[in-house]
Each structure stands twice: as structure tokens, then as C-alpha cells.
């Protein structure tokens, strides 16, 4: 029998706010010594009370709007009760039945096809402390405790590991576009759980689902889902049954391992958080947040194709990172006629520079206008493509403007026909052998002869003119 995988995903993303969710401590704890970003509130000392971080609420609403969610007018926080050493209050302040955002979707491209993934809800909660286990005992670092965390839950709309991967990629792109999360899975700023079940293709009823935790990278998400689909179809094919359990992904052994069964599912005893009054989101407030929505990658891609005539294969690469897209747009703004040429330079030389040094767009030593100027110099024939690459390399090192480098180093292309004619004449005279070969029909030696002429001009000659003149000279001498 053939089975169809039914997958739902839960993503936790740390929200980039200055302070924590319910206290004034800095949420930027990345390189801080343990337990230095703490206060009575996030340490849950007796008597303290939480106060809602409005910026985190707005960031979550912004995310919901980007995912086409509805923002209900009433929302509240609840206590989720469970005991664990990383949870100082013994309960997590979360949202149970009235999340900030409900009923959205995200379109993703998988194998050239567009797939719509439903978003069930986006809600806000607080992160836990970080435990480190040592041979001498476990250590608790409360710097992370109380950092705002949004949870984004999909409908069971995902059908393959590739779709799950595409969803995560697109979601992370959007979170980064919005500036609401770093989306950094390796550093734990974005965490993922997948619910996987199988059903016979064509069946309506869902099979028993298995929850997979401990997915710490995009790759592990894909591998774990592939593994789990395999495992479950093996079970079903051999007449077995899938049990409703929680599995963990073992990165080393590349398999899912049993964590706990449904009987041990925790009863979280949710109830409304009495320390925090419910939040009312007025249409005006939602509209104000909506106005902060940037142009999203999908819309950008369509516009690049429409307005700039960029090839769709190129567009996806240009919009994948918000700063890159903005850099590109600013360069195009400086030279609107050169949109495709600038795209080619971005995707070729600029991307190569970035990936070689593992740099980000923000670290580029040149401005968008400087790139546009370089592209224009190539386009108007002042320099040729090869020289252009050299000039860009120098720009990346020194930050000097293209025109200034060309001028200082005398790199301007030689398009002067009289000067080039002399060079061509001498090339033809100095290489009688190849010239004879060419005349015998071996047209490929033309390249050699062009190369000789370029060498004589230190590469500055306009290749097109050299080629024309050379052909002319060869024809003339043949006559």
C-alpha cells in the first residue's frame, strides 16, 4: 500500500526585543556570563509580578499579519503548569485558548510548485532557563529565562520532508524580513518540532501521529522526517501499528528514538494568568502595526520580475535575504536601466565575495550606488567585463570608487580604432603561422590572435573592436 505523510510543525522563535517578556532585563544574553541578565522577576523570587513587554506583543502581531493571520480583538495570557528545573516559577506564562494570531497561511515553492501551508495560530510565551549538565551536577543559567518566544503552529498541511524544509526556510526568511527573530536554529533562537503521521493514499482519516523533538538544524528536520516516514511505513507495511509517542532526533545515529508515550503526557492545568489583565487589540492598533509590514519576499520577487524584468531563477536568490534585496534595490535605484546587469553582478561577483569570506551583506565595504557605478562603466564600454571584475575586487579591498580606480590605474578600455589597428597589424605580422592556419579554415585560432592583441594592451582593449579589426585585417591580407 502507498502511504501519504501528514505533517504539522511547531516553531518556537525567540523574539528580538531589547528587554525580556515580563521584566526589564536585557534579552540580548548571547555572550553574557551566566546569570548576569537576571532580576527578581525572571528569577521568580517570592512576591514579584510580570509586566507585559508591548514590543514583543507587536512583533508577534506583525508576524501574524505577515502570515495572513486574523488578529482577534481579545487575547490573554495563561499559566501552563509543569515542574522542571529550567522553569523558575513552576509555570510558564503562555497563551492557551486566545492566542494573538489565528488562521493564516504561508505559500511555499516546492519543486517548482506553489503549496499553501495553513497557519493555525501564533502565540507569545516566555523562554525557559538553560540547563548545562556536568559530571558534578546540573547548572542553571537564567539569562534565557523570560526571553520572549513566539510559537507558530501550522495546520497538518505538509506532505513531505521537502515541504517541511521549504516551509521552515520561507518562515525564517519572513521572520528575518520582519526583524522579529534571528531565526538562527543552530544557536537555538529558532526551534522546531514536527508531528508526523501516515495514512493510505486517498484515505480521509488521519493516522496516529508521532511528535519529533530535538530538531536543531534545517538538515535534521529534513532527515528526521524522512526517517520517521520510513519507520512508520515499515511498521504499517508489516502489519504493525504506530503508537502515539514523542520521539527525539538522535543527530549522531541519524534516527528517531523513543522519549515518552501518551500515557505520560503532562496535564498542564492551564488557567488564565491572574497577574496580567487581558489585552484588547483594537482595529486601529492592528492597522498601526500593519503599516510597519515591509514588502515580503514573495511580493518582492513578483515585483522584480514585473518591474525589472529579472529572470525568475535569479529573483529567488536576490530576495532570500532582506539586506541583499535592499542592497540590490538601492543599486537599481541609482541606475534604473541596468536592473538585469546589476542582478548579474550581485549573483556572480558579489555573492562570490560574500560566500568566500562568510560575510553578510551588511559587511560589504561598498555602497549599492558604488556597485551601480561599476556596472555602468562596464555597460557603457569604459571598461570591459574582465577589468570590471578586477576593479570590483579592488573596491572590496579599499572601498575606493570604481571610476577613481579606473582613472588612477588607467584601466579605461582602448576603443581608439587607429591605435588598435597598429596593434592588430603587428600581431598579424608577428604570428604568420596562426594566421596561415586561420586562412586554412581553422577559425578557432582567432581566439589566440585576439588574446595576443589583448595582451599587447594589458587587457584594456575593447574586445569587440579588436575582434572586428582582426577579422578585417585577416580578410584584407587574404585579398
Amino acid at each position: 500500500m502507498e502511504y501519504e505523510a501528514i505533517i504539522g510543525m511547531e516553531v518556537h522563535a525567540q523574539v528580538l526585543t531589547r528587554s525580556k517578556m515580563f521584566c526589564g532585563c536585557s534579552a540580548d544574553y548571547a555572550s553574557a556570563p551566566a546569570n548576569t541578565h537576571t532580576c527578581p522577576v525572571c528569577l521568580a523570587l517570592p512576591g514579584v509580578l510580570p509586566v507585559i513587554n508591548r514590543a514583543a506583543v507587536e512583533a508577534t502581531v506583525l508576524t501574524g499579519l505577515a502570515l495572513s493571520c486574523t488578529i482577534p480583538p481579545f487575547t490573554k495570557f495563561d499559566r501552563k503548569n509543569y515542574t522542571y528545573p529550567d522553569l523558575p516559577k513552576g509555570y510558564q506564562i503562555s497563551q492557551y485558548d486566545y492566542p494573538l494570531c489565528v488562521g493564516g497561511h504561508l505559500d511555499v515553492q516546492v519543486a517548482g510548485e506553489s503549496r499553501r501551508i495553513g497557519i493555525r495560530r501564533v502565540h507569545l510565551e516566555e523562554d525557559t532557563a538553560k540547563l548545562t549538565h556536568t559530571p558534578d551536577g546540573s547548572l542553571i543559567d537564567f539569562n534565557r529565562a523570560g526571553v520572549p518566544l513566539m510559537e507558530i503552529v501550522t495546520e497538518a498541511d505538509i506532505r513531505s520532508a521537502d515541504e517541511a524544509h521549504a516551509y521552515l526556510t520561507e518562515l525564517r526568511t519572513i521572520l528575518r524580513y520582519l526583524g522579529v527573530s534571528s531565526g538562527d536554529m543552530e544557536r537555538g533562537a529558532m526551534r522546531c518540532e514536527a508531528n508526523v503521521s501516515l495514512r493510505p493514499r486517498g484515505a480521509r482519516a488521519f493516522g496516529t501521529k508521532v511528535e519529533i523533538k530535538n530538531l536543531n538544524s534545517f538538515r535534521s528536520v529534513r532527515n528526521a522526517i524522512v526517517y520517521e516516514i520510513d519507520r512508520q511505513s515499515g511498521l504499517l507495511a508489516s502489519g504493525g501499528a504506530v503508537e502515539q509517542v514523542t520521539m527525539g532526533w538522535d543527530e549522531e545515529r541519524q534516527c528517531t528514538v523513543f522519549q515518552r508515550s501518551k500515557e505520560y503526557a503532562e496535564d498542564y492545568r492551564y488557567f488564565p494568568e491572574p497577574d496580567l489583565p487581558p489585552i484588547e487589540m483594537t482595529p486601529v492598533e492592528v492597522q498601526t502595526i500593519r503599516e510597519r509590514l515591509p514588502e515580503l519576499p514573495h511580493d518582492k520577487a513578483q515585483r522584480y520580475e514585473r518591474e525589472f524584468g529579472i529572470k525568475s531563477a535569479d529573483v529567488a536568490l536576490l530576495v532570500a535575504e532582506h539586506p541583499t534585496a535592499l542592497f540590490y534595490e538601492q543599486a537599481v535605484a541609482a541606475r534604473p536601466a541596468l536592473a538585469q546587469a546589476i542582478a548579474n553582478w550581485m549573483l556572480g561577483e558579489v555573492f562570490r565575495y560574500l560566500s568566500e569570506g562568510e560575510r553578510t551583506t551588511a559587511e560589504l565595504p561598498i555602497s549599492p550606488a558604488m556597485l551601480a557605478e561599476l556596472v555602468a562603466l562596464v555597460d557603457d564600454g569604459t571598461i570591459n567585463n574582465t577589468v570590471g571584475k578586477q576593479v570590483l575586487n579592488e573596491m572590496m579591498t579599499s572601498g575606493e570608487a570604481a571610476a577613481s580606480i579606473v582613472e588612477r590605474r588607467g584601466l579605461a578600455q582602448i576603443s581608439d580604432t587607429v591605435a588598435l589597428e597598429q596593434i592588430i597589424t603587428s600581431v598579424v605580422a608577428q604570428h604568420p603561422g596562426p594566421v596561415a592556419q586561420y586562412r586554412e579554415g581553422e577559425s578557432k585560432v582567432l581566439g589566440f590572435l585576439i588574446g595576443q592583441a589583448m595582451r599587447a594592451t594589458q587587457g584594456k582593449a575593447n574586445v569587440q573592436i579588436v575582434r572586428d579589426l582582426l577579422l578585417q585585417a585577416l580578410d584584407d591580407s587574404q585579398r
Binding site: 528569577l43 517570592p46 512576591g47 509586566v51 503548569n81 528545573p85 513552576g90 488557567f271 496580567l276
Partner: protein, 484 residues
Amino acid sequence: MNLHDLTIHQAQELLASDAVTSVSLTEALLARIAAVDTDLHAYLHVASEQALAQAQEADERRARGACGALLGIPLAIKDVICTRGLETTAGSRILAGFRPVYDATVIAKLREAGAIILGKTNTDEFAMGSSTENSGYDTTRNPWDRDRVPGGSSGGSAAAVAASMCLGALGSDTGGSIRQPAAYCGVVGLKPTYGRVSRYGLIAFASSLDQIGPIVKDVTDAALLLQAIVGHDPQDATSVEMPAPNYAAALGQGVAGMRLGVPREYMVDGMAAGVRQAVEAALDVWRELGADIVQVSMPHAEYALPAYYLIAPAEASANLARFDGVRYGYSHPDTDDIWDAFRRTRAVGFGDEVKRRIMLGTYALSAGYYDAYYLKAQKVRTLIKRDYDEALQQCDALIAPTTPNIAFRIGELIDDPLQMYLEDIFTLALNLAGVCGISIPCGLSEGMPVGLQVQGRAFDEATILRVAYAYEQATDWHMLRPQV
């Protein structure tokens, strides 16, 4: 008159006229504590040195021209309120030795006003109880009869005020914990409207019900101490941004023409005859002062107790989850692993009543029971709120006994928690409704004080103070002090 017998406003006059210093006042009270608290056990911790240093500072502030209703006034603080550097246990063994690193907002306000903190008073563990018998440390004695309880949970504060071991005190009231001990000890206790006083730094029992308030010797002092602690606090999201009136200024306006409602459901058969007589006599006093006494109905009053004993324990079950021995307080020394450490720390650190309520609350919130218990209780709470709204639309304030009986004997009800819970039937509906109430002395029965409540609209503490003050001016009950 002895210095320790003064009210706050009397002491303030003497301080203002340089007749006494805060240091001499503080010394007098510390001497009084030393003399009588060995028997009464009202205090858990007395901070003599810090108190004298604060008194010294208050005198210096006054010498520099400062003044204010609480400048130099020695007060006692219920041990559920965090005081920086001063041991705060909430009456629980699980917080033995805990010294907060921060002041509760009310404490910061008192310090700013120049009040002196004499020490921390006994309480039922985590404010759960009606007698202080649930304290993890000591049972406080009623200054009127040492075989009887002072009431609870703010029994230490009420006894300290009644026995003149402080000029005034702070208590906290979740279901009557200020008003009931005030009634049992013959003093004045006010529970402000929920949201009027910051809860930041109050060790939570039931977050949607808790409120800090004054326990004092007369209504004027209640107005003064309330004034010092009210106001919006950015650290407490449930505190309201609503300006407070000048409470003392409104006291003397009388009750002529006011409508005072007596809820039929609060004059029950089970009430002690002496309590009933005292309350009825009090109604006559107000009548004579020109108030209109009318009967009102609170049809859902009988459901307040069960609703309260679901909501309060439910919230408590979560609030008390943080006491795990990891970061502060008692930690069991002999454990196998972290789970064992949690279990043993809590098994030893918490007393029986606290464990009973944690279990009750956990049960009420459990899957499959939530709708039948917690949710149902919240619906009842809405109905009780409506009862109050309707009654207080017809009336300016409500009058009811504070407790059905006088203070019971120590040990009398300790094995009958349900009967002990019943001592709160007249007080806890007010917390569910979130409105305000004050208990004032209104007579004696069997030689023990009887208390009377004036209950008012949300954020209308001024009216209940005014009604209580009119009664107080017309009677002498508030002048009675126990022979200690």
C-alpha cells in the same frame, strides 16, 4: 498616656510639635514588644537596630523641615510582604532565613514616607488560615484572651496593634485576612479595592484576590495609612491608574441622607447572639446619625465559600510552585536527584494546610475537572460581583458582621478545616467581587471584641471610611484596649 498606646495621628501631633522624637517612640514600642510579645507571639522577627536607625533618620529629616503623616511612625509588617534585607518567611518553614533583595512597593512607599519598620508579624503559612495556627513558627495569642486565636491570617499584625506593640500595621486580605483578625482583636482593618494597592512584593497566595491594607487603632489611622500605600504601580499590571482622593479630608462629612444596605443573607441563624446584638445596635447608631438603613439581598452569597475554595487554591497551586529549594529558602539536604530534592523540600517545607490547598487547587484545574470546578467557580464569581453591583447601586455602602462568632479558642477548630473556613463566610465574597471593606469594633460579646464591616463600591474607599468614621465618632468601642 504611654507612648505605645498612641494612635498614628496622635503620635504625629506630638512629633510635629517636637513633644516626642521618633527615636523615643520607637524605643517605647520596642520596650513594649520586649515586655509583652514573649507571651503573645505577634512578631516573627523584630528589627530593633534597623528600626532605631530609621527613627534616627526620621528625626533628622524632621529637623531639616520634613513632615508627613507617617514620618517617624513605627509600624509592623505582615511577614508575607517583602522587606529588603529583613527576613521574610510568609510564616512558612520553606522560606526560613530568606532575606529579600528588594522591597515590596508598599514598603518602598512607607520608607519614602519616613515610617519605621519595627519587624515582621506572624501569619498563617502563606496567608492560608484564619487563626495563625497554620504558621510554620508560632501561634499568636489574642491579647484579649490568650487562650483564643487572634484571627488570621494577619493575626500577628492585628494582635500587635491591639496590644500596642506598633502604632499601625500592614496586613493582607485574600478572603478576610485583614478584616477577620481586626474584628477578633478589636481593631480597625481595611481591605482596599483590588487594584488600589500594588501587590508587587506581596508573596502571592491567590493573585486575583490578594490585597494589602492597613490594620490600625481607629478609622483616622486607616485613612492615613491607606493614603500612604495606594496608587498605580508600573510593576503591578493589575494596579489601576486612578487618582486616590484625600481620605482623611473626607472623613467627617457624616452619613445623613446616606443609604446603608444590610444584606439579608449575612444576618444568618448560625451567628452568635452577642454578635447579632452588637451589629443591630450599630445599625441604630447610624439611623440616629441620619442614615437610611435598608435591607438588600445578595442571592448568591451562599456560593461564595465554595467558589472561593476553588479559585484561591487553584491560583495558590501555581503560585507556590516556585518554592522548590533551588534558588532560596529551605532546601532538603539529603536527596537523590533533582526530583527527589523537589519532593522532599516541599514535603518538609510546607505545612498541612498549604499542602491541602495545593492539592485542592491542582485537582480543580486538572483535565476533566476544570469545567466542573474552576470554570464553574469563575461563573459564580461573576454572579457574586453582580450581586454587589446591584446592591451598591441601591445603597452607598453595605453593613454586615465581620465574623459570625467571636474569636475561637486555640485548637478548637484546627482539626475541622471546614468549620474554620466558615469563619470567613462574611468576608470572602467581598474579595471575589473585588470591592472594598473595612472592619471596625462595634462591641463586646463574652468579653471579646465584635467586628462590623462596612463594604463599599470599587475604588470608593472614601465612602466606607466616612461611614465607619461617623460610627466611631458616635461610640467608644475603638477606645477599648485589652489588659495585657
